[in-house]
Subunit: 147 residues, 2 copies
């Protein structure tokens, strides 16, 4: 593929890493989601919200704080909580209903197990360090990294 005013194209090593990153992101995410639904009956989005809710005293959190904890914007929280309310996982104004608490207790260990077996078990200790440092650095430079 050629373009006028050729940009700094990706070389072979970079293209390999980028393809790896894209593929990893796609497949790791979809496989984790699949197992979460299968083993715990929860979607990734539901799991994400139920973790901080189940840890909160009384299972109660303000939507704003919940949003900060998981790094979601307001409208996303609102839509997701709306869907979960329909499923009976949470109650607005009085969060983390019993169903939600039961669901997260059932799903969490298997999710951690999945993350471990699909990701960490394949990495060496050194790689965990290098990747951790690299990710933090890239993340810190991203426009919306603050707050």
């Amino acid at each position: 593929m050629l373009f006028v005013g050729e940009p700094r194209w990706l070389d072979e090593r970079e293209a390999r890493l980028w393809q790896g990153y894209i593929g990893l992101k796609l497949q790791l995410e979809s496989e984790l989601e699949r197992r979460l639904v299968r083993d715990g009956g929860l979607s990734g989005a539901e799991f994400t919200l139920l973790v901080p809710l189940s840890e909160a005293p009384g299972g109660l959190l303000r939507a704003r704080d919940l949003g900060r904890m998981v790094g979601w914007e307001r409208s996303r929280i609102s839509h997701q909580v709306g869907r979960m309310e329909k499923r009976g996982l949470v109650v607005r104004e009085e969060c983390a209903a019993d169903a939600g608490r039961a669901a997260i207790v059932g799903a969490a260990p298997q999710h951690v197990e999945a993350v471990r077996s699909l990701f960490f078990d394949v990495l060496t200790d050194d790689e965990v360090d290098v990747l951790g440092a690299a990710f933090e650095r890239v993340l810190a430079r991203l426009p919306i990294a603050e707050e």
Copy 2:
């Protein structure tokens, strides 16, 4: 958070890497998407399909082959092509209309530039190697890695 039959929990280093991965995936993706729309007027999904289409002889590809190239399932291709047809970016039965070709030529260099400045410019050469190898290994173990 405590559970009956405590699973192999994540230690501090692992949790740090996992949080980094989750955050990186989220923010890098949304920032790249934002720039693609802003600079090239294309969504990520549109860009993904237009690259192989613009490279194909005559700008023509069978839906099946296009799907294989980008690793998407049939229905996803079908839905996306339907949306792009509405925008006049492609024509079914006669792919990669001129609008699509113009769009990808305009958008691609800036997208590569964005990937470079947000990701590669923050990494050392050694890190590119370590990450590339690690990603490939994790990817190869994923259930749907074949074909």
